[in-house]
């Protein structure tokens, strides 16, 4: 727990005098207004695992649009309370605002803070500000990586310990809690999956000069139910196919998510990459996802390129089920979990005014590695070929 500026640690002892004449409540917010459109018929593009539908040939203003408001109360120097409301397209196909975060934070020392309540689940580099389009260069976190986790927050506790490790300004964040899961499969009916998970893990973020580094790990005990899958599991048990039933079932099943991220930003050149590994454990597939993004700032305009890939690493076949019809169902389900996909993106961010950025992004998406539709919702009987997605967005903060 070395002080960050050792030479200056002369103990002025007036921590908090800084906030003496500041108001107790502060309100800030952000939002994105966006239009998203994809080429071709019989498929829809979505940016998460919750939405029951996405942007197709006709385009949609709902896919990437959102609005968030954050209220922070600071009754004392050491304690603050944060309420963060978010309105974006949800599992019920509406924009009803939800409580994304609601927590109390206590500063034990200048280096250590404890938080309790509803907190962001730190699964990715962008997790904390994934919805704040204004704070990032591309329109969205690439779906090949960011759609791997159906959870964005949890109810529990965490600690933030800021320290110095050699040249690295390091933040160590252990966390534990529980979360509900509300998700939709990418089948044409957007079958609903509901469940919960006990989560715990560790997040490390280091900053050194123009570099940033993140290593994180989440372990979870997941229970997840989806009508058609539950019926299939019941039938498998009745038929004595307990091996297949256990393979698919999610009852306190151990899952994990590991992520590594590196970023560089020297003011002109910016680059970022992440590599993630999902071990799903049940009827969902194991996946790896990665992306690399690079951009260059010309004054207020930042063009960028990005490539991303998701690959299913678990078996999408299950052999040894005697009944051919049951075997077909199980293998159909596993094949539909093959979300392997790769994409190329080109875009530009333009800081048009104070607090406002306008972005345009083009993505070329292609199902990969034997997948029929990648991460797209498809009602096509044939495997999809490549698709083009165009997005224009206006991000703002206030």
């Amino acid at each position: 727990m070395k002080p960050v500026l050792p030479l200056l640690a002369l103990g002025l002892g007036l921590a908090g005098a800084a906030q003496a004449d500041e108001p107790i409540f502060s309100v800030s917010g952000y939002g994105t207004l966006a239009w998203t459109q994809m080429s071709g018929d019989n498929a829809q593009y979505r940016v998460g695992t919750a939405e029951p539908n996405g942007a197709g040939h006709a385009g949609s203003g709902e896919t990437d649009s959102k609005l968030g408001v954050q209220i922070i109360a600071r009754p004392t120097d050491k304690f603050s309370a944060t309420l963060h409301l978010l309105s974006k397209k949800n599992v019920n196909n509406n924009f009803n605002p939800r409580v994304e975060w609601a927590y109390g934070k206590y500063d034990l020392t200048p280096e250590v803070s404890l938080r309790a309540g509803r907190l962001a689940l730190p699964g990715f580099v962008l997790s904390d500000y994934l919805n704040v389009g204004y704070s990032m260069t591309p329109v969205r976190g690439p779906v090949e990586v960011y759609a791997q986790l159906p959870i964005s927050h949890f109810n529990g506790v965490d600690a933030l310990w800021r320290t110095q490790a050699g040249p690295l300004a390091l933040t160590v964040q252990p966390f534990a809690g529980r979360s509900n899961i509300h998700a939709r499969f990418s089948d044409p009916q957007a079958t609903r999956a509901e469940g919960d998970a006990t989560v715990y893990g560790m997040n490390l973020v280091g900053q050194w000069d123009d570099w940033s580094l993140r290593i994180g790990r989440i372990d979870a005990k997941v229970s997840l139910n989806a009508g058609p899958v539950d019926s299939l599991i019941t039938t498998l048990r009745m038929m004595g196919e307990n091996g297949a039933a256990s393979r698919l079932e999610y009852q306190d099943k151990h899952s994990s998510f590991t992520g590594l991220g590196v970023g560089y930003d020297n003011g002109k050149l910016l680059a970022q990459g992440e590599y993630t590994i999902r071990k799903a454990g049940g009827f969902l597939a194991d996946t790896t996802g990665w992306y690399v993004m690079a951009g260059w700032r010309f004054g207020n305009v930042t063009p960028y390129v990005m490539t991303a890939r998701q690959r299913v690493t678990s078996d999408t076949q299950y052999g040894g089920i005697a009944n051919p019809m049951l075997s077909a169902y199980v293998n159909g389900l596993l094949a539909s979990g093959n979300t392997s996909q790769k994409s190329w993106s080109l875009g530009a961010r333009w800081d048009v005014a104070k607090n406002i950025a306008v972005k345009a992004q083009y993505d070329r998406i292609r199902p990969d590695h034997g997948s029929a539709a990648g991460l797209l919702i498809s009602s096509d009987s044939k495997p999809l070929s490549s698709r083009h997605v165009a997005t224009v967005a206006m991000d703002f903060v206030f």
Binding site: L12, Y129, Y134
Partner: protein, 135 residues
């Protein structure tokens, strides 16, 4: 003749730039004596949040903002705004308070030993202490 005019223009441009020297100031009561450009940059982009063992109170001056950030951090005000948006919405930091004019910055800084801001060199008086010059 042409070269001469260009030289004169250059010279006047340089002297204009030199005249607008920005200095980073803390309270005269602060124990902080000097800061490096990197330390100032880390404070104003939220990488470090402590000054002299206390929680730093940052203040931006609207008139000098663009110039200060380009000199101290090599980034423009829009980039800085995006950086602070990240910290603000994660509860990991609060952006600088923004005021107008040298006098307002001095008022904010003078009374708070943990405060830090920037003003024109010409406006320095006994209430504040210069910890870094940004010519």
């Amino acid at each position: 003749m042409k070269t001469r005019i260009v030289c004169m223009l250059l010279a006047s441009a340089l002297s204009a730039a030199a005249g607008a020297e920005t200095v980073v100031v803390v309270s005269a009561k602060s124990a902080v004596a000097t800061l490096s450009k990197e330390q100032v940059a880390d404070l104003f982009v939220g990488k470090t949040q402590q000054l002299g063992g206390a929680s730093a109170a940052l203040v931006d001056q609207a008139e000098l903002k663009e110039d200060f950030y380009s000199k101290a951090t090599g980034r423009n005000a829009a980039q800085i705004k995006a950086t602070w948006a990240k910290l603000l919405f994660t509860g990991k930091g609060n952006p600088p308070k923004e005021v107008s004019g040298n006098a307002e910055v001095k008022k904010f800084v003078a009374g708070n030993p943990a405060a830090i801001g920037y003003i024109d060199k010409a406006a320095v008086d006994g209430s504040v202490k210069v910890v870094l010059s940004l010519p």
